[in-house]
């Protein structure tokens, strides 16, 4: 018998945690009450958020917030750490295919200023190194490399460059200038094949000329060779195929979770937990196998809620398609506070949610996957995918969230917004969300409430 799920505060989680323990909840080694991340880790933003009240959500949060511990433990166990920068789902698949290698996503430090409410000082350090507020908040990553308080210095750093965020390229170059050597691999801007070129199908329904796929494959071969050198064992096709199958297992879980969460009459999982879950697809939060377990539990919880006809929001909640991740997690709560729910997302890594082809040589499959990256294609391509998914999930409105200073989404919001309006006729609103959006909450609330009111008026 499943109860009525709720979105609860951290204070309420204290009671809920005791309740779940009393019910015999079995926790993993990284388990424990959420509050400890505030008391011990300084993650004070948690005091301002609302969470799903399930044991599965608790495990998700604990998994996310203990990544630093996991990386230090890996280092202590003499595992090899690969920092896969500006890579949304390709190099980690390769790295986890090698023995004794753990990949992580240093760019993930962009959420530290939010989670720690600027108290880690990472932005100040970045500013002092010439990366001021005109850059994307991911500049916090450089601060994290300086303080070494959030992850160990990796044994190898990779970074894609080319058709990626200009800001990030500049930030990563600054990092290299600070003495952290980077293996750069190039990703070209994805283009449609010319009539005389052989067209290759990519995940997500896109196409690219064969020469682009071959080029990206050659770049990834360099990365593979470097990982092989690092681990001391050649990274063969068999291991890569196994790595791809494991990644696809996670992607399938996420795909089912997303479909359930976005299409159920009553939303079974809050927007915030869904955002965190989707992020796991990129980098597995430094433990691929555990990521699968965590997401599997979340899927089970969502499935049970849907079968029981219960949800964290009422059936009347307005169905919103969300474009781009937010720098301040609190804004995901705000959508629901205003009467909305997430029904479809395009968080800039939609390709990492698609299955990697398993019927191709693994390096070609990975090259195709890398080229399907939304950031490697045009804004119109992103809009096409958003339009398709918004239609599939029955979205009633589109919210485009800009990241201050991020060059990959400074102007594309207008392109996506115009295409969505003209093709689907849905109302669109753009918001800009800095790492701490408290001062903007009234204006953000007005925009989101107005979007909700607009949809409700249409319904009537």
């Amino acid at each position: 018998m499943i109860g009525q799920p709720q979105r609860i505060t951290l204070d309420e989680w204290d009671f809920r945690y005791a309740e779940l323990c009393g019910q015999g909840m079995v926790e993993p080694s990284y388990g424990g009450p959420l509050r400890r991340h505030v008391d011990d880790g300084g993650d004070t933003r948690l005091l301002r958020l609302r969470y799903d009240d399930s044991a599965a959500a608790l495990r998700l949060w604990n998994f996310l917030l203990t990544e630093e511990d996991r990386l230090r433990e890996a280092r202590a166990q003499e595992k090899l750490l690969v920092g896969a920068m500006k890579d949304l789902g390709t190099v980690p698949v390769m790295a986890y295919s090698a023995p004794n290698v753990v990949a992580f996503y240093p760019d993930g430090a962009w959420w530290i200023p939010c989670v720690m409410e600027m108290n880690a000082g990472l932005m100040s350090i970045a500013s002092s190194l010439g990366l001021d507020e005109t850059f994307c908040p991911v500049r916090a990553m450089v601060g994290a490399f300086v303080t070494q308080a959030h992850f160990p210095i990796p044994d190898m750093l990779t970074c894609s460059v080319g058709a990626t965020c200009d800001d990030f390229s500049a930030i990563a170059q600054r990092l290299e200038g600070l003495g952290h050597p980077i293996l750069w691999w190039e990703i070209p801007g994805r283009r449609k094949p010319d009539p005389d070129e052989r067209a290759i199908a990519l995940p997500g329904g896109f196409e690219a000329p064969a020469c682009q796929v071959e080029f990206v494959q050659s770049e990834l071969e360099r990365v593979k060779a470097a990982i092989s050198d690092l681990s001391g064992a050649p990274l063969g096709d068999e291991a890569l195929c196994e790595g791809i199958r494991a990644a696809n297992h996670i992607r399938r879980i996420l795909s089912e979770l997303r479909t359930l969460a976005f299409t159920a009459p009553k939303c079974p999982m809050p927007a915030l937990e869904m955002l965190i879950a989707e992020m796991l697809a990129i980098h597995f939060c430094s433990d691929r196998d555990e990521a699968a377990v965590v997401l599997g539990e979340l899927l089970d919880e969502a499935r049970a809620r849907v079968e029981a006809g219960v949800g964290v929001l009422g059936a009347e909640a307005v169905r919103v398609f969300w474009v781009n991740p937010v720098a301040d997690l609190r804004v995901m709560n705000l959508l629901e506070d205003c009467g909305g729910r997430i029904c479809g997302t395009e968080y800039l890594f939609a390709h990492a949610l698609d299955a990697i082809p398993e019927d191709l040589p693994p390096m070609e499959a990975l090259a195709r996957m890398a080229l399907a990256d939304p950031m490697a294609g045009s804004s119109a391509d992103r809009a096409e995918r958003a339009i398709g998914d918004a239609g599939r999930f029955g979205s009633e409105a589109v919210l485009i969230s800009r990241i201050p200073g991020a060059s990959h989404c400074a102007y594309e919001g207008a392109v996506i917004g115009e295409m969505v309006k003209s093709r689907l006729g849905l109302p669109v609103v753009e918001v800009e969300v800095p790492p701490i959006a408290d001062a903007l909450m009234p204006t953000l609330r007005t925009r989101i409430e107005a979007l909700i009111e607009t949809v409700l008026a249409w319904r009537n």
Binding site: T443, T446, E453
Partner: protein
Amino acid sequence: MVSVGVDAGSRAIKIVLLDTGSREVVASGIVAQGVGCNDLANDLLRDLMERSGLGPGDVTRVVATGYARNMIDFADTTVTEITCHARGVHRVAPNAATVVEIGGQDSKLLRLGPGGSVRDFSMNDRCAAGTGRFLEVVADRLGVALDGLGPMAARSQRPASISSTCIVFAETEIIGLLSTGTSPDDIVAGVQNSIAIRIAAMAGRGVVAPVVFTGGVAIVPGMDRALESALGCPVSIAPNPQFTGALGAAIMAAA
């Protein structure tokens, strides 16, 4: 019996009383925004009610809108100013397809659907350079009253080009223009054009006529012409433009 619409904006609080039977406006009033927004709104409402011969028992419902809508504790509910301006403008200009609303600290562009519903909207609430605040800064810098800006702009022979995208830097630019002998009339006209161009940029390519201009800035003479020039189509000013938000709120309270 009356329904009440309260528009608690960033610069002023506006209230409209609407007869729930005839749907005619019974009274309206405005007071400058300040510390104690709720008390200011309460005092204004009490004054309007007394002058209209009404008592507390005559109020059916109160809807608050505007930036400070959540501070109005006597409101039954809140609705965003986007929805309220759309309803208010539709009431006074039923054919309006596009609404430009420029207030003290933000500006909005609304595309209307049937019955004054909002089809889509854009909003600038991050940059004061496209809002009434810009005009206040200019008036202050030039030492003239706000209502003196219109005649000044009308006298302009060659509107100055204001290139700064930030109100703080624009003020510096204005000082520079004054020091080089640019006439205050041309500066005021340049600032009006600058605001209008920002609105046009927000509108993009999809401005559908008829366009109705509302909000506090609509009462500043010359702004409508600047908007017409920037948008490339006729612009009409809503009757009592400062009150369309409160009117829309009162209409929603009566619904």
